[in-house]
Amino acid sequence: MALTARTPLLALAGALVVALLAPTLAGVLAVCAVILAGVVADLLFAGSVRALTFSRDGATSVRLGERAEVRLRVTNPGRRTVRGVLRDAWQPSAGAETDRHRVAVPPGQARTLTTVLRPTRRGDRLAHRVTVRAVGPLGLAARQGSHEVPWAVRALPPFHSRRHLPGRLDRLRRLDGRSAAHVRGQGTEFDSLREYVLGDDVRSIDWRATARTADVMVRTWRPERDRHVLLVLDTGRTAAGRIGDGTRLDAAMDAALLLAALASRAGDRVDLLAYDRGVRASVQGVAAAQLLPSLVTAMAPLEPELVESDARGLVGEVLRRTRRRSLVVLLTGLDPAPLEEGLLPVLPSLTARHRLLVAAVADPAVAQLARGRGDADAVYGAAAAERTLAERAHVTALLARHGAEVVDAVPDRLPPALADRYLDLKAAGRL
């Protein structure tokens, strides 16, 4: 049960009655008895909350930062109208704009309420409970009860780096030989001959064909298609580091999504694996049209785990999943200790069969710290930052020596840098 504001107001009015008409203990008791009778009557004649039934429909997923509507249908099978307040409670991070609704459901009827959500965090945002406060006819007291009406809205990663996609697709099209053949890589396949136009690379002129015809002919080349790209997200403790507003994992996801969008347009097959001490998420063998939705859905509930990643298990899982030669993109941190002790010993077995591209999220705060001058605190900070940068450079050199490519960039720059490196590899025919 619950009281309404009218009950204390009535009691306050009763104070006047007591003071002016009956200044005795009996007067106080009489006023209290009247209030109590009203409250009991309200509780008896309010609509039944327990009997209400609920069902939901509406959005099940939403991109982070956008709004989703979830509808709640309230059916009243009881004999009295349920009139009062309904609270559709969600997790705070679901960002419900208004979770309180006025309701009046006559007997045997149903009403539909809409809750607008604007999630503030990635992942599954859950509905908690629906609580209804049904006020009695006098408006003094209300019956109150809660129902579990489960629903989840999956907040998908925002994919901020979408804006870099058109530029990279342009570059891809040029690679594809449909425009001019600026770039000719080893291992690319011969596509066709066409007339020379100003700006074409003179090295791509096919002299024999030119001799046979009146015009200067150039060969165009098409990069390999149908290669296999495996995106590996390291969700271990190094991914939990906060950089700016997001975690390393958020930045890694953004970069992975851009690369996946680009690679699937380039005709490559893209798979995803998220791993720390076990497989956290996996997308395998999805058609290009369904790839991005599957990826964001798989990534949405991922959170960094505070455990040391198992590099040996990760490499084993990668080798188990890939039959033919692939481009393995490992999105991780460049912390020296976990890499030197975990990844480096098992790296040869990976680089022997696949091309490895390590994408690391750098922290702009470290670079800023390295520029600190002026007083002792700032200079010690700069020294510590320089030391960290030197360690990263050392690890990068170690990885390069083992045949791995490294992209190390701050969160904003990582997605385009990774996409560019992929295009470089593709252009050079080294996939």
Binding site: L3, Q144, R242
Partner: protein, 359 residues
Amino acid sequence: MSTSVSPDAARVWRAARAPLVIVFAVLATAVVLSLSRSGDGGALDPESATEDGSRAVARLLGAQGVTVEARHSSRGLDARGATLFVTRPDLVDPGTLRTLTREAASVVLLAPSQDTLDAVAPGIAEVGPLAEEVRRPGCALPAAVAAGGVTLGGTDYAAVLTCYDGALATDGAVTVLGGPAPLTNARLDEEGNAALALRVLGGHERLVWYLPSPGDPALRGEEALTDLLPDAWVFGAAQVGVAAVLLALWRARRLGPVVSEPLPVVVRAAETVEGRARLYRRGGAADHAAEALRRASIERLLSALGLPCDAEPAAVVAAIAARTGRDTAALLYGPPPADDAALVRLADELDALENEVRL
């Protein structure tokens, strides 16, 4: 589909019965205990059997044919022709006490202060504190002479007739005792305590044993505000109190429980770097810090000068000298700075050198 999670009547009863049983058991125990130990009371209570009580002396007086009337309030108190014993005279309003004193045949006051004495026995004056110990009478008062040595102390009084080093004083019908020791159950059997108590309190057939208690209208300063207010205000305020309780109940009832948010653990990525900087600072590791800064500068200079990564110091210094005409051996490869100030200077000089080489 939905499921109701509000408790129904059966669940409310199941949840509430254990606390109800506990509350009932506690109340029952309290009632039984209070009934079985009804002899307990405050200090100098003629019904109390505790060490500080006075049931023993009351029984002795009763055996001597003295009627002991215990009174907790001045209301209906009739001391005419009787001995009036006031255990805490300072609590009683002096006016009331004076009236009672006039009515009584004799009065015994326990440790009164000067205010009280001024009102009832102006012939006695308070002197100061007195240790509680066995004292000799040292006076001609018949009761004291008969009782002999007595455990007494507390307050020292000055009067025409004082006994026990001032711990007992008389002024007319008023007898003042400095402390309660001779009357308590614990001390009654020591020395001549019982004899003194019986003689002082048992002078008349009736003894009115007055223990001023809360609720006594004669208590000093006890004229409550409620007595002055008209009833309309009092009961109106009571009803406003009811309204306040209802207001609290209205505001206290939440519309459903608080929803918790499982938050991920997130650590700032630069935390370890800042931690290392603080360690350098605390350890005064100017040499390590200078080493890190110099190495970083040399790396950048090497790429600016087009030298290989593993260039010899001499080659680096020579290349810089060729570019800028400066000798930088001491700056780049010299001894580490001695203190923080030297480190700050070193960092600035390295910056200046890098700018110069790049220009």
